[in-house]
């Protein structure tokens, strides 16, 4: 394990320069001394909840990642409707030494491990992992954008994220996740309904369950 760590440090140093400017100090959420990174997970094929659990477990197994909190699972109609089955979405907060691009590699590796082989782009997703926020950092290149460029428009991201990080500030929009959620909900007006699929919290996972950290 020690060997592995050394390698990671080397890579991250190299990548650090590329990883974009840091946000102002006050925007970096410091909670018991670490920068919190938030990931969004989604699955809309097969045993969706199981895929979410598997993805979170594989993150925990990675020696460079510690999962500190997770949201409940939320069921969501896919954007644009159509014939795609609904998604299960969740968010997790992690602690990691990995720089953003290296973390992206890890996320993609987990997607590959758990994914079906006959994957078509924009088709049903076995498991999708997005980096939503990396502390207060802003990253923008052709591989990776942090904050995730669509997160503030997506209730299926904002709702589970609000559960575990209501007061965290979006480093570009400079608003809390809770404020962004309320805004988006207000925009949707009457269309928003807690009981509708897409906004419904479903069983499994669960914020409270993970409070043991």
């Amino acid at each position: 394990m020690a060997k592995k760590k050394k390698k990671v440090v080397k890579v991250t140093k190299k990548k650090a320069a590329k990883a974009g400017k840091k946000g102002k100090g006050k925007k970096t959420e410091k909670k018991s001394g670490f920068t919190a990174v938030y990931l969004g997970l989604g699955s809309n094929v097969g045993d969706r909840e199981e895929y979410i659990e598997q993805a979170i477990f594989l993150m925990e197994k990675n020696p460079n990642i510690e999962v500190i909190k997770r949201s409940a699972n939320h069921e969501t109609e896919p954007e644009g409707g159509g014939s795609q089955p609904p998604f299960i979405n969740a968010t997790v907060a992690i602690k990691t030494k990995l720089r953003p691009h290296k973390l992206l590699d890890v996320c993609q590796e987990i997607e590959t491990t758990l994914g079906r082989e006959r994957e078509i782009e924009w088709g049903p997703r076995t498991i999708d992992i997005d980096i939503l926020l990396y502390g207060g950092e802003i990253v923008s290149d052709d591989k990776l954008q942090i904050p995730h460029p669509l997160m503030h428009e997506r209730l299926f991201v904002l709702k589970p994220l609000k559960e575990i990080a209501p007061q965290v500030i979006h480093p570009i929009l400079e608003k809390t996740i809770e404020a962004l959620f309320d805004e988006r909900k207000a925009e949707l007006g009457e269309k928003y309904d807690d009981e509708l699929p897409g906004f419904k919290e479903i069983k499994g996972g669960g914020y409270d369950d993970y409070e043991r950290w």
């Binding site: 097969g46 199981e50 659990e53 598997q54 477990f57 594989l58 491990t113 758990l114």
Partner: protein
């Protein structure tokens, strides 16, 4: 003040216990390998090598036991028991690299043994199912399409009945359906591949068409495995651990399917006549390791292999109980462990109950197997054992 004993079996428990008393973070990393102890058994060392290991281990504050005659080289070979913390053992491995007498190879073995023992195997993909080991215990439901299997005699011979039974098992929580046409019941006569081929592939075809759950083919015959894979089986379960049919490894390699290697002493027809071991766990592990070598040579990926100690296959009641108790030792192979104990004779003998009355006994054995490191369980009573596994997982895999 009351002192107490903390159970620490792995590094992460060691770390969290130290952090809980406020130990320094850097210190925790340095101290953790000193909190976990292991006893390693090495077989057949030359006395010179054994003596050096003992001497070096003593210098690190550990210990190693050798055969008495090792000291004056009056024995040709000595087995070795090495006692130490992970820290001492890794120091030993580093030091042994510098010695002669084949000790660099011993150092490499030491490292791989320690790594395998604590590592969680990487996930295996079967059809669209991910077996993510460590997350939970996976359930293999038994579907016999044989007229003489010991548990479901004749009940599932009819193909419609078999398919509907499989569907029920999937609904009850089976992750994999294990379908077999040859009874491996103690004393069962061997049947021909033709007979097996008549029973199994049609069932697999139907099942694969009607359900999404991956299907495993329980056979020792390469021809049957090949036909079964063509019919839609996604996994091979070979109770001979690649020891009976020399073609089996090639078929599995070509199919690219995950394979279960099981330990058996003898053949099903005679295996219970006089099971005999001088080192039970050692021999089971060696046999499975041989299977891994055969697999590797044939081009089967190590990552695709699951091992099974073969409860009831050439073992007395006591031997079966000992394997269940010491199941964790199989982790040294670095592969996921499957346990099939459901309704078996060992339970019948302990409880003095017939095969249709072994549910509780099975539950106890399943729970203990999971606690002792089983990653998959092969069971008949899927609904009940899924619950047993889920409850046991909640305790054992708490993280």
């Amino acid at each position: 003040m009351i002192g107490r004993i903390i159970e620490i079996e792995d590094l992460s428990t060691a770390r969290s216990e130290m952090l809980a008393i406020g130990a320094d973070k850097v210190g925790v990393e340095l101290m953790a390998p000193k909190a976990v102890s292991r006893v390693l058994k090495l077989k057949g060392l030359k006395p010179a090598a054994a003596n050096i290991v003992k001497q070096e281990m003593l210098s690190f504050g550990g210990e190693a036991a050798t055969a008495y005659g090792s000291i004056n080289q009056s024995v040709e070979k000595s087995d070795l028991l090495i006692f130490g913390t992970l820290k001492q053992l890794s120091q030993l491995a580093e030091k042994l690299k510098l010695h002669q007498f084949g000790l660099p190879a011993v150092a490499a073995e030491l490292k791989s043994v320690l790594n395998n023992y604590s590592a969680v195997p990487e996930p295996i993909k079967i059809k669209d199912k991910n077996l993510v080991f460590g997350l939970r215990t996976y359930i293999m439901g038994v579907l016999n399409v044989t007229p003489d299997s010991f548990s479901d005699s004749n009940k599932f011979m009819d193909i419609d009945a078999a398919v509907s039974h499989a569907k029920q098992m999937i609904a009850d929580g089976a992750d994999i359906i294990d379908i077999g046409g040859e009874s491996t019941r103690p004393g069962a006569a061997q049947i021909s591949a033709e007979e097996e081929l008549k029973r199994v592939p049609p069932g697999i075809k139907r099942l694969a068409a009607e359900t999404e759950a991956p299907i495993s083919i329980d056979t020792t015959k390469a021809r049957v495995a090949k036909e079964a894979v063509a019919a839609g089986a996604a996994m091979i379960n070979d109770i001979s651990g690649l020891h009976f049919d020399p073609e089996m490894a090639k078929v599995a390699a070509k199919a690219g399917a995950p394979i279960v290697l099981m330990h058996i002493q003898g053949q099903p027809a005679n295996m219970q006549s006089n099971p005999c071991y001088s080192d039970l766990l050692g021999e089971v592990i060696d046999y499975l390791n041989e299977g891994l070598e055969i697999a590797k040579k044939a081009g089967i990926l190590l990552e695709q292999i699951i091992v099974d100690p073969g409860i009831g296959f050439g073992k007395t009641v006591e031997q079966n109980l000992e394997i269940l108790k010491r199941l964790r030792e199989l982790k040294v192979l670095g592969r996921p462990v499957l346990v099939g104990v459901s309704r078996k004779t060992v339970i019948g003998k302990v409880l003095d109950l017939p095969v249709d009355d072994r549910l509780e006994g099975t539950a106890a054995a399943v729970a203990l197997s999971i606690a002792n490191g089983a990653d998959l369980i092969r069971v008949h009573d899927v609904k009940e054992m899924s619950r047993v596994a889920k409850m046991t997982d909640a305790i054992v895999r708490l993280r």
